[in-house]
Amino acid sequence: MNNLDLNQKIINNIVRQLRINPLDEAQRKKPKNVLLISADYLPKDVSNVALQCKSLADGLAERGINVHVISVDDWKAGTTVEMGAVKVHYVGNTIKAYSPLTWALTVGMDVCRVAADIYHNEGNIDLIHAHDWMMFPTGINLQFALKRPLIVNYYSLQHHRTPGVSNGFTEAVKQIEWRGSTESRRILVNEDWMKRELMNYYSPPKDKVNVIGPQAEDWTKDIVRDYSWVLKNWWGEEENIDTKGGNPK
């Protein structure tokens, strides 16, 4: 077998594995176990991301979904706190990182560790929902390894946070934001404006991006609908979207 044949075999195998579903038909379509990963989560931080993640996790739990949240808090690292029906797993970064970028890239080890523990010990994870660029690398890695779809949430873009600045840090974050938009199966943003900005800078397919913000009434119902749509696509039932595309600007 030559190298090309083997490469093709590997690709076929991966595609086959992504499509073969050990779960039954009903489980395929509805999200039962959702993993939210976010660097910020209430009550540690009172950022927009933390507030929205908490609201989302509570809303999903109210709809009968088993929600695990992995967040970062050095003081609570290693603990799991049950906040209502939501299980919040805290990790800490044991590595002394020297920048937000290196922090995000090193804390991923522990997020992966805890996600794997949930996966192995507590049962299945149907999908992974990563919030903001700091969790995108880990989300992408988990999607590759666990073979479960990744949904990403953008709250702002590096282009907005440091307009006109181009250095190693900003370009690396832009690359990560771009990878989040290409590797994920669904992109969620809070406003139409952000959707336009995202498409302007990273060019994902238009119908891959959905605007669902907490300002809307019953917004978690829309999120669950999107989750179901992603799961159907993931298991090969509706392949009407090209999830790849675009280049970082």
Binding site: I14, Q17, T94, S99, Y119, A145, A172, Q175
Partner: protein, 404 residues
């Protein structure tokens, strides 16, 4: 048994000794009936798969990763490495363990270990605290932490010398019995005497000149500046000596200036990087090969020189002093001391009988101890021991992962 090696460098892309180490180890393992898989970086668009003598090599594109600096580049490279490994594991399902080489591939290895719940073995080729002579800035702190985390997460830690075992144990409080020493090896077959040896000498020196050869990165720990400092002393005793300095690094320009300031520039040739054939040629042309390192976890250069039948002079430091027995298979000189180094070089150049005696003993040592097949067998024994312990352990994949 399938072993997944994670290494950031692998031939043809070589920066230090790590690439050669992983290549030789993987090839020796393949000969022993193991199935080594190597995940590594590709540059200049040379990504893809190749099977070389039973070693599966998967290269992913590591070009154009924007980063703040080298450590942050390495961390981002690890994300791509982890993705590549996950895809490879989908194909080669029954991987037995992960083997990571140095901190540069540690973060992906640790994540893979937990996701797939397979044992991780790490080889510590060197430590940040030794490479820089201490931990001074934030970048070094981070690398030091990653190294500490890597040895903490590893089922077994391999080092190439007793010196490194002591360093790892004291730096990270690692239990003594968690660390095994497996030295580097050398493939003596790669260092056969080239043809037209004397004709080729014209490229580097005059026919009557005696070549003193250095190869390595031009960085503080390799002590290349110590060698340049020794040149005037050597020339006083042996005016026919010619110093050939291969390699490159942040100290190259400084060393060239030093040679100029000492008035020995005409007796010094800086070749920058040399290919494998030229390296072999230089080893065979050398009247003495020097390794004046300030910090050296092992020292592959003296081994290659010994395999090439060249006498060696080393500084008495780190893993180097475990390789050489003074006045039997090489000479040891004081570390970070140009006068002492000059003494060693002069002694070998002026005493052909001693040089011949040491060369003979060195060649025998290489054959009996540092053969890659013997080194690989020792490594695989450790694998087997780890797998045996793992099978008795309850830490295993469960749930859907076990079915994939």
């Amino acid at each position: 048994m399938k072993i997944l090696h994670l290494a950031w460098e692998y031939p043809p892309y070589k920066v230090g000794g790590l690439a050669t180490h992983v290549e030789e180890l993987a090839h020796a393992q393949a000969k022993m009936g193991y199935e080594p898989i190597v995940i590594t970086c590709a540059f200049e668009g040379k990504e893809g798969y190749e099977n070389v003598d039973g070693v599966h090599v998967f290269r992913f594109n590591a070009d154009n990763i924007p980063a703040e600096d080298f450590p942050s580049w390495a961390l981002q490279m690890n994300l791509l490495m982890q993705n590549e490994a996950s895809q490879v594991i989908s194909e080669f399902k029954d991987i037995s363990l992960f083997h990571t080489h140095d901190w540069l591939s540690a973060t992906s290895a640790i994540a893979l270990k937990h996701i797939y719940r397979l044992p991780l073995i790490s080889t510590v080729h060197s430590l940040e605290v030794g490479r820089r002579g201490g931990i001074y800035d934030d970048r070094q702190k981070m690398i030091n932490d990653i190294e500490g985390r890597m040895v903490y997460e590893s089922w077994k830690v391999l080092t190439c010398s007793e010196f490194m075992k002591r360093s790892v144990s004291s730096q990270f409080s690692v239990p003594w019995d968690k660390i095994d020493v497996v030295p580097n090896g050398v493939n003596a077959a790669k260092f056969k005497t080239p043809e037209n040896l004397l004709a080729e000498k014209n490229r580097f020196a005059l026919p009557h000149e005696k070549i003193v050869f250095f190869v390595g990165r031009h960085v503080w720990e390799k002590g290349v500046d110590v060698l340049v400092g020794a040149i005037p002393y050597v020339l006083k005793e042996c005016p026919d000596a010619k110093f050939v300095i291969s390699g490159k690094g942040y100290m190259t320009d400084k060393c060239k200036k030093l040679a100029w300031d000492f008035g020995v520039a005409d007796k010094t040739l800086f070749t920058e990087y040399v290919d494998d054939n030229t390296l072999n040629l230089l080893y065979h042309l050398s009247d003495v090969v020097v390794c004046p390192s300030r910090y050296e976890p092992f020292g592959i250069v003296p081994l290659e020189a010994m395999a090439s039948n060249a006498p060696v002079v080393i500084s008495d430091t780190g893993g180097l002093n475990e390789i050489i027995e003074h006045e039997k298979d090489g000479l040891k000189v004081m570390t970070n001391n140009s006068e002492s180094l000059a003494w060693g070089i002069t002694r070998v150049l002026k005493d052909p009988g001693l040089a011949q005696f040491m060369k003979k003993n060195a060649a025998e040592k290489v054959r009996s101890i540092y053969d890659w097949e013997k080194i690989a067998a020792r490594t695989c024994n450790i694998y087997n021991q780890v797998i045996s312990d793992y099978q008795k352990n309850s830490w295993k994949p469960r749930g859907p992962q076990a079915k994939v």
